[in-house]
Amino acid sequence: MSQIDSKIPAGPLAEKWTNYKAHQKLVNPANKRKLDIIVVGTGLAGASAAASLGEMGFHVINFCIQDSPRRAHSIAAQGGINAAKNYQNDGDAVYRLFYDTIKGGDYRAREANVYRLAEVSASIIDQCVAQGVPFAREYGGMLANRSFGGVQVSRTFYAKGQTGQQLLLGAYSSLMKEVNNGTVELHTRTEVEDVVIIDGRCRGVIAKDLVSGKLERYAAHAVCLATGGYGNAYFLSTNAMGCNCTAAIQAYRKGAYFANPCFVQIHPTCIPVHGDKQSKLTLMSESLRNDGRIWVPKKLEDAKRLQRGEIKGRDIPEEDRDYYLERRYPAFGNLVPRDVASRAAKERTDHGFGVNNTGLAVFLDFSDAFQRLGRKRVDERYGNLFDMYQEITDVDPHDNPMMIFPAIHYTMGGLWVDYELQTSVKGLFALGECNFSDHGANRLGASALMQGLSDGYFVIPYTMQNYLADQITVPRFTTNLPEFEEAEKKVQAEMDRIYDIQHKQADKSKLVSVDTIHKELYKILWNQVGMARNAEGLKSALKKLKEVREQFDTCVRIPGSKEGLNVELDKAIHLRDFILMGELIAYDALERNESCGGHFREESQTEEGEAKRNDEEFMYVACWEYQKDDDTAPVLHKEPLNYEYIKVQTRNYKS
């Protein structure tokens, strides 16, 4: 087994980060100006990192694929951001947020990283308020809070159902301030296609200008990837259309370990799939579970009539409704963590109790809340979500319960990083959803925003200095070095190869669009590498994924010119990497023969159908190392997880 050093500082848990900050190496102001840092991505992690590093005096080069940094997908986060402020006087504390996060993640995250996250959480709220983020407030002028799944305190700060938007606009405004100050050089509509490694350290990137179609070289002393997750491998997800894992997968190809890829979050409250022309799924915020109650009919015949469209949800009397989350998990009820809620919905619909025409939906009902609080107060809390639901489905949630179903939403797995957020490639860092570090096997609601901003505002500004302290004598790099030359040539050759597939195919009737192949990938991943997995299904998925790659390599059609803007060519590059990602998820899921968090192996469950963890064999981070090419199986390394401060227990949301 190779050595995996997570670089956790010594000392008591609560003092690790303080000690680290006190003893880390610094870079003096005059030297910061001479050091370049590339930040890829402008979501919460990327924008906050670029802005903070720029403020410190480093020269930052920042990339985003959209037309503006403000469009990054963090913007779509609805519900809120957690912080251990204890403003509600309900017994919250740093330790409790730490504990909830470790437990919510089913004991598959590192103690030290998560404690640091909980520790800096309060500063994030301070920072955002100072930026002018208009969080919801009480009449007394204090900040308001609400509850999210998996916890028993109110620690979630929010801005209507648009918390991600407001936090991102806060980070974006800081970023634009630094663009104005000249410390950040911003490149929009630019996608990073490869990382460049010189003498074992990451020293730059090859990026594609998406408008001109030309490749460009950028050199720096260090590179941060903040490119988000890989949920779009599944085609249908709540991710934005442009979200992709190309930069992260390319880093993996260049030697960065990929950790826990099988930990994928399936969000329980999304608008169900309709028809086969759909391109993405819409999330309904978890905050709805504060007041909405989830149910299906008790009687199978009622479910059948709902499926045939003969009756509506409101026609079913109270006594014939099965509030299955409240029934199975009395202590947490409708606010159980996402993985638990999703599996419970699958359990009911697998037994035929689904409530829409496809049988793949459950009800989320507000009639109780309307009676208890009055329509006006409920609308104040969720009005915009009700409107959104009605616009999409043509059903008014005031008249009839909403219909929801689980969908791919977030990926806990990601590039392996140490305590300093550095990957296994020196000088290459990963931030936010792009890394694996804090959420274990399942992320709690309102913790993604917390982690993205923690990494960007409060962690990387320290750890980056520690890395660069001995690099101050290294002069700026020229992009004429042979390593850049070679990397660019390879990316160009790969783009040419993908574009020319259609010309090499003799039988033109076999040519299909990128989306057609992506939908094939979706079917395999969703059915066999989705909410419930088993060894047989995973092995068959791995076989089928090879066929998908074969189809891609021989049949993908990309109209238009190779030069200039070509959206289909860019999608094809993403798909090439989604296929490899899908394989990684399947390899990891097959190897991890236990159920934990978002990963459910049918072979490993209790008699009641609850997930059964296997701590003896699987209490580790699975770190996958790329081998010579995409067709070769990756090699597994294990980073053992040690719990010194938390007693490892079976997750219990029942009592």
Binding site: S48, V179, L565
Partner: protein, 251 residues
């Protein structure tokens, strides 16, 4: 259940900022009413790809009405006929069998066409860079509850901050003015104590940048307010004018 509809679709094709553009016409058959407008365009593009023709290019990303990327001018309205909704939140049940649906890009001197209906809105980023922020450094902030903010002000600031920067206001305005966009940002900060110290600088610098970038002036036609997918109010423009006059008087 939603009905299927068939209609004529005219979309704007243009190969670059200086190229001459034209409409391409397609007959769309049996599109389900619960298809979103952008999914309908996905269907069109799949058909074009199948015929080895270049797909129609348009900006889109989150498809949840929040990223501000989608930007289509549909039948003479930015984001189409629905009120308070972005293009991605528009559903085909809004249209009828036999309709002619015309799709164009945002048309404004400040937003040059990149290709087809994809336009360059980087001018908005430049306006924000001129002053759309508070100059607070990371890690220096006091406790979040140290300054109380009345709920009314916080809520109003939130309404202003809801702007998604899509540019529909500019596209709707006969003068190509960005006043609703600028005033929403200025208003958000003007309503919050954190934004007050730089209020005068902000108003002056953002207005100056807006003028420099070729956006037009406001003549109070209220087209922007009518077309804004986030229902931003022109009361913001009045507030911006007050902030601007105050700043100028103080000079």
């Amino acid at each position: 259940m939603d009905q299927n509809i068939s209609f004529t679709l005219k979309v704007w094709r243009q190969n670059g900022p200086t190229a001459e553009g034209h409409f391409d016409t397609f007959e769309m058959k049996d599109i389900p009413g619960d298809t979103s407008f952008l999914e309908m365009l996905d269907i069109l593009n799949e058909q074009l790809i199948e015929q080895d023709k270049e797909p129609f290019v348009f900006d889109h990303d989150c498809r949840e009405g929040i990223c501000g990327m989608c930007s289509l001018y549909i039948n003479g309205n930015p984001h189409g006929p629905a009120q308070g909704a972005t293009t991605c939140q528009l559903y085909m049940r809004r249209f009828h069998d036999g309709d002619v649906i015309t799709v164009e890009p945002w048309r404004s001197a400040a937003f040059p066409v990149i290709k087809d209906c994809m336009v360059d809105r980087s001018a908005f980023d430049k306006i924000i860079a001129a002053g759309g922020y508070t100059s607070v450094r990371t890690g220096q902030a006091q406790d979040a509850n140290a300054i109380l903010i009345s709920k009314d002000h916080a809520d109003e600031a939130m309404d202003c901050a809801t702007c998604i920067g899509c540019g529909a206001c500019v596209a709707a305005c006969k003068n190509g003015s960005a006043m609703l966009f600028v005033s929403s940002k200025v208003s958000q900060f003007a309503l919050l104590p954190q934004g007050r110290p730089e209020a005068a600088r902000r108003a002056k610098n953002m207005i100056a940048k807006m003028e420099e970038l070729g956006f037009g002036n406001c003549t109070n036609t209220r087209a922007c307010e009518a077309e804004c997918p986030k229902n931003e109010s022109i009361a913001n423009i009045a507030r911006l004018n007050r902030e601007y006059i105050k700043a100028k008087l103080a000079d």
